[in-house]
């Protein structure tokens, strides 16, 4: 069973479009995250949610809007996609506290 699953795995779209990436975890964790990995492989946190509440928002453009309908799901909606949004987006989850984060397999977003 996949612990943290993201859909889709690949997303190719045109500039200006709006798209969503879904994430679900079946580990019973309280906290979920979105990370962005750029073309140079640099990983940076975007958002963190704890029990459906936004905890961390790391100066991400407001075109990015996370939504957590329940603590097992954290979706990422992106409006007006730009070329610079091309990246791999990782969802992760963890229990509260000093615990390792478990990552999904990533979604490669390519903007044409």
């Amino acid at each position: 069973d996949t612990a943290v699953s993201q859909t889709p795995k690949y997303l190719v779209t045109q500039m200006g479009n709006d798209k969503s990436i879904k994430c679900e975890q079946n580990l019973g964790h309280d906290t979920m995250y979105w990370y962005k990995q750029d073309s140079k492989k640099f990983l940076k946190i975007m958002f963190s949610y704890n029990n459906k509440e936004l905890i961390i928002n790391e100066t991400v453009p407001n075109r990015f809007s996370p939504k957590s309908p329940d603590k097992a799901h954290l979706n990422l909606h992106i409006n007006s996609l730009e070329l610079g949004d091309s990246a791999v987006y990782f969802c992760a989850s963890s229990p509260t506290g000093y615990q390792p984060q478990h990552f999904g397999d990533g979604t490669r977003l390519s903007i044409l």
């Binding site: 640099f42 946190i45 961390i56 791999v88 506290g97 990533g106």
Partner: protein, 116 residues
């Protein structure tokens, strides 16, 4: 703010040999955790090993071990008996936990190639 630096963008090692990947970090925190994650070509992020800052004993997981030097803010990863499947990007990561949540800060990664 925390920063994590991996000074070796790329490394290679012969199969069955030992290799050490470097990581340094900067923080004013006293309680934190350190991790090494592996990212093979399949793109998954796989936890390799973790170290609690309050523990003096270095963590070990099978062929993987760390050399944690808290005063020097250094956290290197040693891979013994390297295998072809160890070929991957390796990321050092630092975690604090406070009212803002549980946040991982990653280094820039080291690409490791294991040669037959």
């Amino acid at each position: 703010a925390q920063t994590v630096t991996q000074s070796q963008p790329e490394m290679s090692v012969q199969e069955a040999e030992t290799v050490t990947l470097s990581c340094t970090y900067d923080t004013s925190e006293n309680n934190y955790y350190l991790f090494w994650y592996k990212q093979p070509p399949s793109r998954q992020m796989i936890l390799v090993i973790r170290q609690e800052a309050y523990k003096q004993q270095n963590a070990t997981e099978n062929r993987f071990s760390v050399n944690f030097q808290k005063a020097a803010k250094s956290f290197s990863l040693k891979i013994s008996d390297s295998q072809l499947g160890d070929t991957a990007m390796y990321f050092c990561a630092f975690m604090i936990f406070n009212n803002a949540g549980n946040m991982l800060t990653f280094g820039g990664g080291t690409r490791l190639m294991v040669k037959p």
